[in-house]
């Protein structure tokens, strides 16, 4: 046999023939199934039998619901087939059906990753639709929608010997994911964590236990609700962790903390030793009218509260789909990626974040603050 033939193992010889045949059979079977199911997809019928099967949209079943603090809940979710093993510190997008409406949010993974389940921890905020749904309505057995894990707030392999985690509030969640998976007892780990009250501090018992058993050095800081000093200013990190400059630091928490940390590490010339995970800034200001960013066409328009997005776009020369122009026909629907719009018929406010874009009717919606429309 000529050696040059061996360079294409997939297409030559009996093995290749079998593989190609199998591939063709598979493709033909798929085509046949599609022809049988059109205009639906074969999956739509298979979904009747097993919604979590391989190849379906990724879903997960809630297997355990634990109350962490009076306002925080941990969910243990068993993902369906097709789930890829995440790296500790990453986050996942979870879609809940809140009173019939599917809403997606991103949460850091807090559980061990070698099991076939994932854990997230959700703290309820006042009037929060999703967080209160998780607090009050989610029960074991329910199905949720999932995306594969993502994010680069992870330890390198091998991990540095000396680590510092600088966190505040729910910024502890990805760190908890890392700690619970980091089994090396020899590592030198310091955790500096702030929370408003002891009661509201997530994972307090577990963190203290890790501290007592010597796995980590745990420095907690209770700041009080209305205290002038809300948390440890980043530039005073040296007061509590004298060797901070020699450590690799992972920081997660409110924007203020991370901005300070960036500046302080930069000023000391060791910016490369700081790894931050930012809460997506939620500055979706609500107002009357605002700047509309038609992102696909790169057009910026300022519109008042009474001008529909459709009118504003058309005036600026954006190619807007349209129909009845009175909210009936749904031909003008376009994705709102970020910001708020107001329905001019009802005054109802719709707000979107990039992790959960919403389709809106541009002909009856006006900008309510800065917003981005993907057109």
């Amino acid at each position: 046999m000529d050696t040059s033939e061996r360079t294409k193992p997939d297409s030559r010889g009996f093995g290749g023939f079998a593989r190609r045949t199998a591939g063709m059979v598979g493709q033909s079977a798929r085509k046949l199934a599609e022809a049988m199911a059109t205009p639906l997809l074969p999956e739509d019928f298979l979904g009747l039998i097993d919604p979590m099967r391989f190849g379906a949209d990724l879903r997960g079943r809630v297997v355990d619901v634990r109350r962490e603090t009076p306002s925080a809940t941990s969910l243990v979710i068993r993902p369906g087939r097709g789930w890829r093993r995440p790296t500790p510190g990453q986050y996942i997008r979870v879609g809940f059906e809140v009173n019939g409406v599917r809403l997606w949010r991103a949460y850091s993974l807090t559980g061990p990753v070698d099991a076939d389940t994932v854990s997230i921890t959700v703290r309820a905020i006042p009037d929060g639709k999703v967080s209160n749904h998780v607090l009050n309505r989610v029960r074991p057995g329910q199905l949720v929608y999932l995306d594969q894990a993502a994010g680069d707030f992870v330890l390198p392999d091998p991990a540095p010997e000396r680590l510092l985690f600088l966190t505040a509030g729910s910024g502890i969640t990805p760190v908890m994911g890392i700690l619970r998976n980091h089994s090396r007892a020899t590592a030198d780990i310091v955790v500096v964590h702030s929370a408003p009250t002891a009661e509201e501090m997530l994972f307090r018992e577990e963190l203290r236990h890790l501290g007592e058993t010597g796995r980590i050095r745990f420095l907690e800081r209770i700041t009080g609700r209305d205290a002038g000093e809300v948390r440890l200013p980043a530039h005073r990190i040296g007061d509590v962790v004298p060797d901070w400059q020699e450590r690799h630091t992972w920081a997660c928490g409110p924007t203020g903390l991370l901005d300070e940390a960036d500046a302080h590490w930069e000023a000391n010339g060791i910016a490369e030793r700081l790894h931050t995970e930012r809460f997506r800034p939620r500055v979706t200001a609500v107002g009357d009218g605002g700047e509309i960013d038609f992102s696909a066409s790169g057009t910026l328009v300022t519109a008042d509260a009474g001008t529909t997005i459709l009118d504003a776009g058309e005036q600026a020369g954006v190619l807007m789909p349209s129909g009845c122009r009175m909210g009936i026909c749904f031909n003008c629907v376009a994705p709102l990626r970020e910001g708020s719009v107001r329905d001019l018929r009802t005054g109802e406010l719709t707000t979107a974040v990039p992790e959960d874009p919403v389709l809106v009717q541009t002909c009856v919606s006006a900008a309510a603050g800065p917003c981005q429309i993907v057109l």
Partner: protein, 445 residues
């Protein structure tokens, strides 16, 4: 990025909607006008007895009703549509499985009946309503007006344009709402009579039997293309999409499933043909009952000048007719049996129409407006009655209808003779000029 647990600045995405602002919608801004007793043509105005204040109050009352339903929309509605979809798919799956053995008469009858029901549900309570955006609020990409495709000859995208825009916006306005007879029927005395309408009982029967193809042709806006409002390029692109859709639909029903049935090939093919035809006749009847029975009003273009929201609502109510019947009947019509409620609020979930129907009826009766409704056979008969009645020209004193028809026949004969001559000449020119085949020329000829 990580969590949504905190919201240090700005407004939280979860925050509930706050205060209601004024509604500067183009049809809510102006005030209703004094109503004339008759329109320009001398036709009586059905809302002449209402004052501008009455009309304004009706508009506000209906807006409030809409808000009320939207505020209470939630989990149980989502469960409803998902259940309907699951039931429909299960019926289809089981029926198709039974039809694999359609050679045996019991399997043939059960399978055909099941497939017919599944196909009707798919078009009515599921497809039509999803394409109206009734379930968009769930934010489920699988049940969304922008993503749904249905078991129907007309592609969803094209149907949405002609139906939701032309028909639902300009409901029953003569000359603007092409659903008023679909350009092939004359269903109102104010529509101009032409010779072709003489045969409309036959036209309509064929339309009923092949309804989905009729709608596909209608959604193509052939009329607009002929009149120049739709470009050749756009028309050709749409035409390709329709042919592709029809091809995949036909391959499924008349080739793939019959072939899978092996020895039952012919009987499965027949079962599919019956299911599609019964569905055509059923949907045609339901839709016919929506706007054509006696008592439904039509409007003129001058009546919608500066139309206010209240006036728009009134036109929707008066231009539609309901069908009375059982819950099962309502579901099989896709709740288009609540045509009046559907036309007032085309984007409210269909399962809510029955709930608001008594209140709409009370509102109309309170204002001396006729709520047209009746059982299916009566409404179908009434609509068909119009098809026969308006096949011939209007009765006018001192005017012979026989002479009018005769004149039209003569004129048509002369036209036809001229046309034949012209075509013959054109063909001659074309044959001389080029021998290259032009597929498009064949389509348009």
């Amino acid at each position: 990025m990580t969590t949504t647990l905190e919201s240090p600045t700005g407004v939280d995405v979860d925050a509930p909607a706050d205060t209601v602002v004024a509604r500067p919608n183009r049809i809510t801004g102006s005030r209703a006008a004094e109503q004339p007793a008759t329109w320009a043509s001398g036709k009586a105005n059905p809302i002449a007895h209402l004052s501008p204040d009455d009309i304004e109050a009706i508009g506000k009352e209906l807006d409030a009703l809409r808000d009320e339903v939207i505020a209470s929309r939630g989990e149980s509605d989502a469960k409803y549509i998902r259940r309907v979809i699951t039931v429909q798919r299960s019926i289809e799956l089981v029926s198709r499985a039974i039809l694999l053995f359609s050679k045996f008469p019991p399997a043939f009858f059960v399978g055909t009946a099941g497939l017919t029901v599944a196909k009707i549900l798919e078009n009515t309570e599921i497809g039509h309503n999803i394409l109206h955006g009734q379930w968009d609020w769930m934010r489920d990409p699988k049940i969304h007006s922008t993503k749904w495709e249905w078991d129907f000859a007309s592609p969803a995208e094209q149907w949405k344009k002609s139906h939701n825009v032309g028909h639902h916006t300009f409901t029953n306005v003569i000359g603007m709402d092409n659903d008023l007879g679909y350009n092939i029927l004359r269903v109102d005395p104010d529509q101009e009579w032409k010779l072709g309408f003489l045969f409309q009982p036959v036209t309509n029967l064929l339309n009923a039997l092949f309804f989905e193809y009729g709608i596909a042709a209608y959604d193509l806006d052939i009329k607009g293309w002929k009149e120049g409002t739709k470009s050749d390029k756009e028309f050709r692109a749409d035409l390709r999409k329709v042919f592709k859709k029809i091809r995949t639909q036909m391959t499924k029903d008349y080739l793939v499933h019959p072939l899978l049935s092996g020895p039952s090939f012919l009987s499965t093919l027949l079962a599919n043909a019956i299911a599609n035809t019964v569905r055509n006749v059923w949907t045609h009847s339901v839709i016919f009952c929506g706007h054509f029975p006696e008592g439904v009003e039509t409007f003129e273009t001058d009546s919608i000048d500066d139309e206010t929201r209240g006036e728009w609502y009134l036109r929707q109510m008066l231009g539609s007719a309901n069908i009375s019947g059982s819950r099962a009947m309502h579901i099989m019509t896709g709740n288009l049996s609540h045509q009046i409620e559907h036309h007032l609020f085309p984007d409210l979930p269909s399962n809510r129409y029955a709930q608001i129907a008594p209140r709409i009826r009370a509102l109309m009766e309170r204002h001396n407006l006729t709520y047209v409704t009746g059982p299916l056979p009566k409404q179908v008969a009434s609509a068909w009655g119009k098809v026969f009645k308006y096949a011939v020209p209007n009765k006018q004193p001192g005017h012979s209808r026989v002479a009018e028809v005769g004149g039209a026949v003569r004129a048509a004969a002369v036209d036809a003779a001229r046309g034949v001559g012209k075509v013959a000449r054109n063909v001659g020119v074309r044959l001389r000029r080029s021998s290259r085949p032009n597929r498009f020329a064949q389509v348009t000829a």
